[in-house]
């Protein structure tokens, strides 16, 4: 209904085709959480890559992107840490780094933008990288797996690859702030009216649920700051989804996943019970593309998605 507002100054790389896309060999930055408490996300991503016929080359020596926290204390450190990661990708001949976390996407893109747009900062970064013989030449772009799915694989192809359609499962998208905002950093789609997750859900045979909470924040970054605030943000958003008939949620961000999956129970006292199971984006795509459900780590979720999948005749 509202007009789609696209950012005035879209980043130049927002829909560029990379060399990695041509060769189907991408740099892969899983991020800390996918290696620590959300290992099921890492594993499902690798299984999905197999199905898609692409190679995700993990940048094993990459550091944390610094998230908002290193940035809160020292922006230069956060930027140079990421320059180091990009230098590693370049050294492997890769020009496209794929992330599976909204927060990584936003912060890594912000760092890259600053490096590419400001010579002084690039020089500063390289003077430090030079101390251990590394160099970043500015030839890397950072994208979320979600964007890669749509731009490089394509929704039509994805639709054709589906072997286990979701039977109209009602899935509410939850984007996570940093994959859409700020628009001048991300700008792949309108941050006020995004629909990439809806498009993917529909391609998989699910029914996307529209609700006002989809672009709002889950509060993850302030979970330890003051008791109850993040919990309540989760409750508020999940209430909106539930009221619109959602049966499950899909998110491209493991931090959002931790919050949505973890806090709904505690939020019930203020927002009523919602109990919406939350899928990581690659889990649901991999499932529809035929990866056996047992391999996706669905049993690791606090709100088990398997009961609704049984109800919808997706698993036995």
């Amino acid at each position: 209904m509202s007009a789609t507002l696209l950012p005035e100054d879209r980043p130049a790389d927002s829909h560029k085709r990379s060399h990695s896309a041509e060769t189907k060999r991408y740099g892969f930055f899983p991020g800390c959480v996918a290696k620590e408490s959300c290992k099921e996300l890492f594993n499902s991503t690798m299984l999905l890559a197999d199905k898609l016929g692409i190679e995700l080359i993990e940048l094993t020596a990459a550091s944390c992107c610094g998230a908002s926290v290193v940035n809160d204390t020292n922006r230069d450190i956060a930027r140079v840490l990421n320059a180091r990661t990009y230098a590693q990708a370049e050294a492997l001949g890769l020009d496209d780094v794929i992330t599976i976390c909204s927060t990584c996407t936003g912060h890594m893109r912000a760092a890259n933008k600053e490096l590419l747009e400001n010579e002084e900062r690039m020089t500063q970064a390289n003077s430090i990288l030079g101390k251990f013989g590394a160099k970043y030449n500015g030839g890397v772009m950072v994208r979320h797996l979600l964007w890669m799915l749509i731009d490089d694989i394509g929704l039509d192809n994805l639709r054709k690859m589906v072997v286990r359609p979701l039977n109209g499962l009602k899935v509410a998208p939850f984007y996570g702030c940093h994959i859409i905002r700020p628009e001048k950093v991300n700008g792949w789609e309108s941050a006020r009216n995004p629909h990439s997750l809806e498009d993917v859900v529909a391609a998989l045979g699910g029914e996307p649920v529209d609700y006002a909470g989809k672009t709002r924040c889950c509060g993850f970054h302030i979970q330890l700051e003051k008791d109850g605030v993040a919990t309540s943000m989760v409750g508020q958003n999940m209430r909106m989804a539930k009221d619109k008939g959602a049966e499950a949620v899909i998110t491209p961000c493991p931090l959002c996943h931790l919050a949505l999956d973890g806090y709904q129970q505690d939020a019930a006292s203020r927002w009523g019970r919602t109990d919406l199971p939350t899928f990581h984006l690659p889990q649901l795509v991999a499932f529809a593309l035929g990866v056996p459900a047992e391999k996706l780590g669905l049993n690791k979720h606090l709100i088990d998605p398997r009961s609704i999948m049984v109800e919808r005749d997706l698993i036995a």
Binding site: M1, S2, A3, L5, C32, V33, K35, E36, S37, C38, T60, A61, A62, S63, C64, G66, A67, S68, V69, V70, N71, D72, T73, N74, D76, I77, V80, L81, R84, I128, K131, F132, A134, C177, H178, R181, P182, R216, C217, G219, F220, H221, I222, L224, E225, K226, D227, V229, A230, S232, M233, Q236, G262, Y263, Q265, D266, N299, K300, H301, L302
Partner: protein, 319 residues
Amino acid sequence: MANIKLDIFRFDEAVDSVPHRDIVAVDVPETMTVLDALETAKAEVDGSISFRRSCRSAICGSCSMNINGVTGLACKTPCNTVMDEQGVIQVDPMPNFQPMRDLVVHMDPFWDKYTRLKPYLQPADKDEDHQTERRVSPEDMKKLVDVANCVMCATCYALCPVVSVDPSFAGPAAIAYAYRFIEDVRDSKREERLAQINEDYLWLCAHCYACSYCPKHVDPNDRIVDVKRATIKDRVMMNERGPRHALIVNKTVKQTGMLAETEVIQGTVGRFNFRGLLKVAPLGLRMAAKGKLPPPFVKPIPKVDEVRTIFDSLEVPVS
């Protein structure tokens, strides 16, 4: 000309218990602003439609409202960017505020948080006779001009998800305005101001960038980060969770190259704060039952000494 149908939230706290909606149609050029359309509706159709406005040119900050569910200035939003094929535009009062009448809301919580800042210069000497000029270099002023553009429209405050669940949070505009005085070289109350904005939950900002939609490009989100950096630099209230969290994350990234979740949780809540740890424990136990707890120790990434070199080269010493 276009036939614009304004779908307006109607409510008068003095008489109504529940709001209703009116659809008011007006013929206006489609490039006119939503505020112009509202003015036309009020003048030609229904004089009781209430909204705030003054300057009509994005300077006074009065006309912030929800337009198709998106908060912004009505006088800065042309109808043709928001109307649908039938020419319908929904207008509602700003969220996060108590509605008073139609599009007018009670602004008190917003002003209260602003007043708490003592939003005026407090120089070291009072200079009651106004004898000396207080000079600022262009470089020092440069940091402040963006924030000084704030028109106090409360768009950011209405958009803030933290305010929506916890009204004790100062909110984006107040923190941005605190920055305006904290970084003013003429002011003498930097430390008090930092302490106060910390008490008003500076660190409760969730980094969501919703306030990046500020119509005056104040970017409160970035100013909030600046105030956090100033807090750490001046070592104000370092025992609170926010600064502790920031420092422990930095420490684990420097040591391992990764954000070590377990250590960060303990370091933020306080390793010996048993009551605090117990509060996070139920979730921890639920996660443990699913085999989902982060590992107690994180193995350093390959070539972690490079990460340490980066920190050592750029760190302004923090312990």
